[in-house]
């Protein structure tokens, strides 16, 4: 146990504490207050207990949006993580190719969400969009605004296009930190490419992959702007994910109580998943050190 000799450093944390309090804790408290009341206007509000929670938990639309969200997030992770690792492994390690590929890969990350949505909305259109037109030319009936499956695939491909670069860049940074001695030792032992990947590259990438997966999980779990711009949650509710459903309740219908209850449930799901993920990974790291 390290003995703490000076606690004055805690005062340096105070500014961060105040910022977090104003930006996160106080709004969260307000949401909790909203979730137990029926609010008509700031002066007219009634305590309703857990009514909104019961209503939201029994809402089929919420269950459907949650299932869609889980399937979407899992698909995003299952595609982007292996693809990101694969691309990172094929990138050049020296020469002009390094800078060129870094710039190319960073480009999608620099584009704002709503612009990405707009780009893909036009790109996917069957009449004027290059992507949609070519797919239809190939004889595949593709229309993301009418066919739910097409809409799903388009939203998924858009996310893969936008965010795989993040995983690639993180993995590439991890790969670059492996000293040459490891590869030389593997060569002497006659290790296969797979063995080098499994026992040298993958363990060394673990810490950056954790950050990558966690970022992608959180981002895709609260995705809003891109599907909103691209499909508007449609056709029907095929691509209405949790955030968009929440906005429909809170802003569209102005049901602040149910929206607050829903936000808290949403928050608890994210908190649990992130905590489990963080704990599992940190414990795996500790076991490795031992």
């Amino acid at each position: 146990m390290n003995k703490i000799t000076n606690n004055k450093a805690w005062f340096l944390v105070l500014p961060v504490f105040f910022i977090v309090a104003i930006s996160a804790i106080i709004p969260l408290m307000t949401v909790v207050n909203y979730s137990v009341q029926d609010i008509f206007d700031p002066q007219t509000r009634f305590f309703v207990g857990t009514e909104w929670f019961e209503q939201v938990l029994g809402d089929r639309r919420l269950h459907d949006a949650l299932i869609r969200q889980i399937v979407y997030t899992m698909s995003v992770l299952l595609i982007e993580v292996p693809l990101g690792i694969a691309v990172a492994l094929t990138l050049p390690r020296k020469g002009w190719g390094v800078s060129a590929s870094m710039v190319l890969l960073a480009l999608p990350l620099l584009i704002p969400w709503n612009v990405v949505g707009t780009i893909w909305q036009i790109f996917g259109r069957a009449d004027i969009g290059l992507g949609g037109y070519v797919i239809n030319m190939l004889g595949i009936d593709y229309n993301y605004s009418q066919n739910p499956m097409d809409a799903w695939v388009t939203v998924l491909v858009m996310d893969v296009w936008h965010w795989t670069s993040l995983i690639v860049l993180l993995c590439y940074a991890g790969l670059r930190s492996i000293p040459d001695a490891y590869y030389q030792a593997a060569k002497i032992d006659g290790a296969s490419n797979w063995a080098v990947f499994r026992f040298i590259q993958l363990p060394k990438m673990q810490s950056v992959l954790v950050i990558g997966v966690l970022l992608r999980f959180m981002d895709s779990f609260m995705i809003y702007t891109e599907p909103f711009v691209l499909t508007g949650g449609g056709p029907g509710t095929a691509t209405t994910f949790l955030s968009q459903f929440l906005v429909t309740i809170a802003v569209g219908q102005f049901d602040l109580g149910p929206a607050a209850a829903f936000s808290l449930i949403y928050f608890l799901i994210i908190l649990l998943v992130c905590w489990v993920f963080y704990t599992v990974v940190m414990n795996a790291g500790k076991r490795e050190e031992q």
Partner: protein, 90 residues
């Protein structure tokens, strides 16, 4: 503070959480926590166990609301037991 739409019950709820955190802070200075391993499948400090029990308590209440029509105070008692069990043997 009226914009925060406080109600007596949520005020009591948050006061309890704040008191708990202050209490844990004082407890930590009086006798610092020693990480240990109980029935939970990971090594935890006192603060970890409090977090786990509070998160668990939230899910117990949500599950209660979702699956039963019985009074909510039963869930609160179960959550209190859960808090005690995790803090003591977790």
């Amino acid at each position: 503070m009226s914009w925060m739409a406080w109600t007596p019950i949520t005020a009591v709820f948050f006061s309890c959480i704040i008191l708990m955190l202050i209490g844990m802070g004082i407890w930590q200075t009086v006798s610092p926590t020693v990480p240990r391993r109980g029935f939970l499948p990971l090594t935890t400090t006192r603060g970890d166990r409090l977090f786990i029990s509070l998160l668990g308590a939230a899910y117990i209440h949500l599950g209660w609301l979702a699956f039963t029509d019985a009074a909510l105070w039963v869930a609160s008692i179960i959550a209190l037991f859960w808090l005690f069990i995790v803090m003591r043997w977790g």
